[in-house]
Symmetry: D2
Subunit: 436 residues, 4 copies
């Protein structure tokens, strides 16, 4: 969570001020629930709310230097500010009741910020998919020319994948929107499931099924895994853009700002640095998964080893993914497409991608598949080495012409036929909601 | 996937024989779908099915030495065995149509084997949770005595967590049960979405939304993450058992087989080796997540870098988790509980866990919380250092007795009251289905 | 690199000010080398040095908003400040010449800060090892009482391990103290190996053997792996302290500050939170290794995907490890040892740890090992279950007494004999320098 | 460690037979050392050696089913075969004395197999570096044409990096060639440092500085990190080959076997599948680092959680890296270079790579650097967009011609000058031994 990769909303979300405000809100909602249950005098929370306390971060940190305990420092500070009614706060609660419930709120809110950005990325991808649904492009497997696709199909593939990522985010948003107000070891020794349920409902959360001192950490690990999956899907998109932009391909280009400089040494360079940056950041988000999984096996009713991990990876991974999604959206929106280069590269493939059509036509005409493979490969390989075009070579091969007449052969070389299902695939993708 | 950690069902699932049988089944179902679509002569698949081909693993491997391409080697072999009708197999398909669809079947079947085992683990945990729902146990946070729980509550916590893991497995089972028969770059150039849908339906799968040459790898990464989450939850259970069994605690013990030897040097030792083993294996399953995430960003319409990874981690991670679940089930079922040690350890906590009850009673009686904290801590700390019992110390402290009479103080020391919500928590956990 | 886990020296090391100062120093040293080579007018660097430029972080960031290129923004700023002579800076250089050489300086300096802290940790461990070289302690394998060790031996083991970690840090310090001033693709097109060597020597660095645009990233990955190894060794120490402090063991305790509060709910608690914190932070440092390894395979003569990763993990991992080492040192220095609990736990092992001595004596007296094992196990198991002491049981077993007389049996129960080699082991460890 | 990626030497190294033979050898060397120390009758080991025992894997596994302890099963089997003298084996030793010392031997031998392969890879890279030291190639940063390098320089860069990897392997070979024969908790209770030193010397090992029950696991983690570093460097080489082979680049091609088939659908395809495979396998080797680091923090004097991890990752990671190195060597040896495509791509860069030379000449002629940058960028950008060549554009720009005459401008466009330092860099690389 370094300034370079932090947007203002995430900076606010993870600020000290917000954290303490959230703690206070958790305490007040718990207090209200206790008031309803009759264990705390009616009106306590309302009177504190009425004071509109300004939480003083520096003062809390000063107190914590002595107590070496952050929640006690916070409560001491609130008592300093609010006086007598504050003594009713936190009744029967343990620090983790506040901390874990607050963390649930922060992560849930982070998920919401991420989902909004996913929607923007999806919208951008959908637009580009529709725009280029019929723009032919040579497909490549292993980096080698394969058969034609369209640029829109490639965008649609990324759309479908990121839509799945967004759906996973929704799933883990629900998994993480779980708090606890269940006391030191989760037994509600001085509380009750009813107080917990009411307090959490006010906060938009539900209760952990079985708490220890803390909410179970499999939820958090699942959350970070979902972040890493979205990051990995952005990495795939960014990797493709890097390939598409490389000098020899030149099919797309990242938007280049006025005044932007590509290189201190080579003034003509326009580098896909946004995409490269996204690939790097995906590594950072991915790196949060293992520590989150290592946090699951806390000892007995909890140890605090997870805490330092989460203090770092929770802001880092969510903020970084937020930045990635924002950058991805503007990258896709602004991506410059060079249709002439798309056509030129497709032409360079020399129609070899019709080899399968010819092979299948030969099989349909009665040739054994292995034989057809050999026949077609011969013409293809000659063309590949610069000896004639593939179309001419097969047209001159008696093994072919003895089975396929000129019309039949021409039908094998029809790109519209090869791409006829593409609009339907794209439509299917854009109608998907990350399911299937 | 080493023999030591491989059960017979997973050995069979990942055998060469099964793999080639699955490939053949995919080819035959695709063939049947093409027959229905009219692109392949009716009865082709039936005639090949009638031959009840024995796929010869060694022969395929011999052919692959020349072709350096596994699917072509397989098809060549099938053509050797089945003759003319086999030439209609694989029409318009690419190798990945077979490979990825087959992998989907294998991973889906692995998920089913895992889910069955999860059910057994859950059943064992539920039984122990009910059995010990009222067996008091000292809860520990930071490894330090905290407040009482029951052993059944601990089991219920593990139950709820593994139930969430099982639910995640169900989710990724659906995510992974996705095949593709869409040709070299996913455009159905010589196929159709209808043929694909019919063929996959026969196999119990649905179609990838947008294929490249392959099914998108975010699905697989999500799958492996779900495995790692279950493994991490087992790690937590195993870690707790290791703690419970350690010499100074001695509350439970792994079942020790007749003839089993704990140590070559120390004949009396009974070590929690099953649990330690489970902790190690969790590391292995967890280690599959990062490579699976790295596999997502394939280049263009695919590269084959994911393949070698999956050849190793797919059998390894699923088989290892299968072994872990089986071992966990028998571990929980056979776990020996020493109730006397549970009682003894609880007694050793010296009722200090009632300190919060005393503190709250003082607050209810009008003392400020911070003051109550200090008062109670004084008695607690004296007891902790061996100077009197906590109960006697507070009973002798005028700061306490001036506010609480004897009855009020006695009520603070009631373990049944402290544990009164536990049966409800356990019931709630066992009724959960991994939700919430 | 969050404030909570950042010490002032690391805050300074990774500050924007320091970074730009280092960049300037690299430019000036390169300039001086070029002056010596005659490609830049003599005195250029000296005249700029004479200006004692204050680098203005905010101004550079403002310029970068337009150029979207950090080094160009920096150079533009320097030219604003220094005027004409600055035009000679960066001659023939590429941005990475500055960036990678500066990063080498930062990481080397970080290594030095870490090595100083390692020395303090080693000194603390050595002191405690000597202090407790003869303090008996029950050794535990699998958490189960095994044979006696001494507390000093345990400290010596940690000493030897962290000494190895420090030696690895020294190795990677040398690996990382490697810069490059070799131009856009490492060919010295407008530079020379001599200029590079001279400039780097001024900075205390040597030249990359073969640069691309950047220094090779295997060096950085090796660096982060070495950090993670030290972190893992701290994790082992912290894990042991957590075990030693747990309520049932109670052999050591973290120093507890005046005013420190262990729990908001349970005032008597003294939790090993420093150790738990160290365990968590080890996860964070460890998590930097995989992204660093993923950074190695840059495309062609470089892509910039590593940059965002390093902007985050370089400060994070070094700073966090710096904090860990500092905390470890004070933890070890202040650790409170409870010798009475050490004795009590040793006694609780009931001399079962002498079982091997008895077994060996029986073997020496002619019994087959397997038979001796069974004989000893019988007495041990009875004792383990509370039926007599082990010593009494073997003394009453005719299978034993028929072979060993009373004196021979007594000699088996001699703890001084069992520990006689310990001082030599400790001496060997403290004399080691991480070798062997 | 699946057959597909296992070479015979590694299959033998990790076979059950070899493992038990190594155990026996450890026991016999320890026995000999004890004979020399007088604690075991002279001639014991020699008499067992004379029997030339065939260790029966199946029998040991059958015994282990009862004992659930592998070393005890092994010893029982040896006693079955060797009779009375075998009772003297393992005297005072613990299972880990055998297991860890044997593991040290296996990993050391694996390191030797890997180092031999590294030498072959280095030899192949050196040959190609020399062969192509003057073959010009367009260098690329960010995938965009930068300045010229030579193909030999690229090979030399990989050489230098893998040489560093080999040196790191040598370092960890020394770190891991460390055994222990120190008893149950490392105190030599029934042994001595002298016996250990003698026994280990016979096995080519040295003694652990401070053992617990086991050798410290930081050594193993360091070992696996070194493997991952070599794998990452192979990944970089393989990634470059994939780029060089892609259709639009076409500068090199993996050797294509007679009969090899690139695709079941597209007969003309020649895919860089060996390189893609290497990239995938690098992920697998990398994935062993985290579990190895997680293994370090064993509890107290050891727990057995590391064992299951090492049973899987030790064979897997070493064998996979062995396969990678072998494949890399033949890949480099057989790589087909297309010099015409190298020339063609260089030409396509349109001499824009001389832009820096022009810029520097302008600066030398008195223009401010920022101004020179703008001037050159204008001509470069026009050329980049197809408006004239860069050379013609600058030659027609008065801002240039007013400062540089025709000769001065021509000197800027001299590729030999740009590459004049390359042979020296290559020579320096090939003379390096992984140092510096």
């Amino acid at each position: 969570m370094i300034p370079r990769y932090t947007t203002p909303d995430f900076a606010a979300l993870w600020s000290d001020e917000r954290r303490y405000q959230t703690w206070l809100e958790v305490e007040l909602c718990a207090c209200e629930a206790m008031e309803e249950a009759g264990t705390v005098p009616k009106g306590t929370a309302a009177s504190i709310r009425g004071m509109k306390l300004d939480v003083d971060v520096a003062r809390i940190e000063a107190i914590e230097k002595t107590t070496r305990h952050d929640v006690i420092a916070f409560l001491t500070h609130v008592e300093e500010k609010a006086g007598v009614p504050a003594r009713w706060l936190h009744r029967g609660m343990t620090s983790s009741d506040v901390l874990d419930t607050s963390l649930a709120i922060s992560l849930r809110d982070a998920a919401d910020l991420l989902l909004t950005r996913c929607a923007r990325v999806l919208s951008a991808l959908a637009k580009r998919a529709r725009e280029h649904q019929k723009t032919p492009m040579i497909g490549r497997s292993h980096g080698i020319f394969a058969e034609p696709i369209t640029l829109g199909l490639a965008f649609a593939g990324h759309y479908a994948e990121i839509a799945r990522g967004a759906r996973r985010l929704e799933t883990v948003r629900a998994e993480i929107a779980v708090g606890k107000i269940a006391g030191a070891v989760g037994t509600y020794a001085h509380l009750s499931p009813e107080v917990e349920a009411r307090a959490l409902a006010k906060l938009g959360l539900v209760a952990e099924t079985v708490s220890t001192q803390v909410v179970a950490r499999d939820r958090h690990a699942s959350f970070f895994a979902a972040l890493a999956l979205v990051a990995a899907s952005i990495e795939r998109l960014a990797t493709n853009i890097r390939h598409w932009q490389r000098s020899e391909v030149g099919e797309v280009e990242e938007s280049f700002g006025v005044g932007q400089k590509g290189s201190s040494a080579m003034p003509h360079k326009r580098n896909p640095i946004l995409s490269e940056n996204l690939v790097g950041l995906a590594r950072v988000v991915r790196a949060s998964v293992i520590p989150a999984l290592e946090d699951v096996a806390l000892w007995h009713e909890r140890d605090i080893s997870h805490s330092s991990v989460e203090r770092m990876i929770a802001p880092d991974a969510t903020t970084t993914l937020g930045f990635m999604l924002e950058r991805t959206a503007s990258l896709v929106e602004g991506l410059v497409v060079y249709e002439d280069k798309l056509r030129k590269n497709l032409a360079a493939a020399g129609e070899l991608y019709f080899s399968e059509a010819v092979m299948l036509a030969l099989v349909d005409a009665g040739m054994a598949r292995q034989e057809a493979y050999v026949v077609v490969q011969a013409s293809a390989m000659r063309a590949w080495k610069g000896d004639g075009t593939f179309r001419d070579n097969v047209a001159a091969d008696p093994a072919v012409t003895s089975r396929l007449d000129k019309d039949a052969l021409t039908r094998c070389f029809d790109i519209d036929h090869a791409l006829k299902h593409v609009p339907a695939i794209i439509a299917r993708a854009l109608a998907s909601k990350g399911d299937g």
